[in-house]
Symmetry: C2
Amino acid sequence: MKNITLKQIAETLGISITTVSKALKGYTDVNENTRKSVLELAERLQYMPNSFAVNLRTQESKTIGLVIPEVVHHFFSNVIRGIIEEAEKNGYLVIILQSSESVAYEKKQIELLVQKRVDGIIISLSNESNNETYLSQIITKEIPLVQFDKISKLIPSSKVIINDQKAAYHAVSHLIAKGCKKIAHIRGPVNPQNAIDRFLGYKKALEDHNISFDPKLVYTCTDVTFEEGKTFAEQIIASHPDVDGIFAITDLVAVGVLAYFNDHKIRVPEDIKLIGFSNWFMSQVVSPKLSTVDQPSFEMGKQAFNVLLEEINAKKEGIAFSPKTIELDTTIIEREST
Amino acid sequence: MKNITLKQIAETLGISITTVSKALKGYTDVNENTRKSVLELAERLQYMPNSFAVNLRTQESKTIGLVIPEVVHHFFSNVIRGIIEEAEKNGYLVIILQSSESVAYEKKQIELLVQKRVDGIIISLSNESNNETYLSQIITKEIPLVQFDKISKLIPSSKVIINDQKAAYHAVSHLIAKGCKKIAHIRGPVNPQNAIDRFLGYKKALEDHNISFDPKLVYTCTDVTFEEGKTFAEQIIASHPDVDGIFAITDLVAVGVLAYFNDHKIRVPEDIKLIGFSNWFMSQVVSPKLSTVDQPSFEMGKQAFNVLLEEINAKKEGIAFSPKTIELDTTIIEREST
DNA sequence: TTGTAGGCGTTATCAG
DNA sequence: CTGATAACGCCTACAA
């Protein structure tokens, strides 16, 4: 016997579908005996409501969509974990799509989720994104939306972020406190807000400590990879041998820098100090262990889901919901590279 | 205007829902002018079929479920990427759940997916799993199923795997070729088939090279973590100072071993050689760089989805489908630790 | 070429 | 306490 339906239970018991439905859903206006026999039979036949029908009826899928640039990424996979754990606790499932840092994909993925009629969407923008008209479309369609990490400030949705500027400021101040006088920054791509903010934090820290800002000491990643870290490390040493500190946009890049230094017998932290960002697992297994900025990725995922849920619920109850911005704390983790 | 339906288009145009539906679906028995006006209006109103209704009607959701032990894991996140990319190409979306290596969760996750009526399920079992009766339930329900990596041989589903025994055999043979005479093995937990197979490959390689197998040289992980690697490294050095080679169940553990050795000035590969498994990204950034066994994770994900798709399609067409087992190749990657 | 009618399975309303 | 009926939106025989 394949899929048990209310109808089958009703027929077997010689009662109406309505009554079966009510009994199963715990309505009070059902005779105790009727209820019992329904429950019993349903249990025995392993009745399972047809979710397609339930979706159609209730106009909700109990499913949310998540769009991220990259799944294979320590930060994002932790966020994913936070989201799916929290979602599951609340009876939601999560469809995951990746934009691969491409606007075109990102747009397509969003379209897929909209078509699927997910109850809400959580997104971290791709590096390419800068004119995200397709995001406002989500809002127009009144689909609850939460942005996290790489966000667009222009889109009026809830946001879960860290204060990138402040975090970068602290990271660079840490280098300065450790004695660095000439600090290079390997920054992220031009578009993403968090790369911009980290850069601004870097600049501000220099200024506040009376170190003059030199644009020549800023290197811009396009792909934010391990290889770019290596390449820029080489360039830095070649062009500015007196640089004594480097602040890298993310640990992956910092680890690339470290690999280059290790290969070329440049001592860290003696010759040059290095700090990364994000606290990837990797950063504790390299030598010297990398100092970095811890970013609460798992927590970010949890919070992102919870805000989304609030909005979903508000929408269901027809209550107006004003977007919230949640800012999570970061901490400097001092290890051996500074 | 919120959700456009066929009905609205029909009413606006003063024709029947049927005709609108047909026009939209490219049926030939629709007047050219009617079709045009329908298409035009649909386009203008951004008509989007209600997927809930479509699901109910067609009895398929174009969604598959994926259950894995851990999202934050280099191997698994690559598999995820392979699966979602391939799924998307074929018009499927992927719901991801994690079992956190717990049978209880695993069972629950599967139940959720079954309730959701996903079109198919891909799973890699948790380490705890050894009596997976809930899996056969999936098969009884005739939901297409593919197992990968950590599988149960007893369940008659399609499988995408590597030959763990052979791969381990090669890894250990590599150590022997490099001159190791006394090789320890840090193995995975007792249950998972792949831990068993890797252990058997280790044992066979020793035997084939006339090195007597010593059960004392086998250390069993429970959690397969970086820390366990450190702990076992310490135990190995303490109890068997003459061990000159170690084969670790996975790179994460091997990196833990390396960390201990680095901290204690034990030289790799001079004093002791070390090989890991899986080729995590991390293995190329530690020093010395870790030799390992490359496991085609992304490819595994792709293949897993494709077999699943075959089965889904066979089921739709009512054709019988016999489970397939796909075995992917692995390669030894020699770096600096051997 | 167009439209009517029935059904997918559930839920909610309302009358009995 | 029970059940008939309609509706969610789409699809598809079948009839006109």
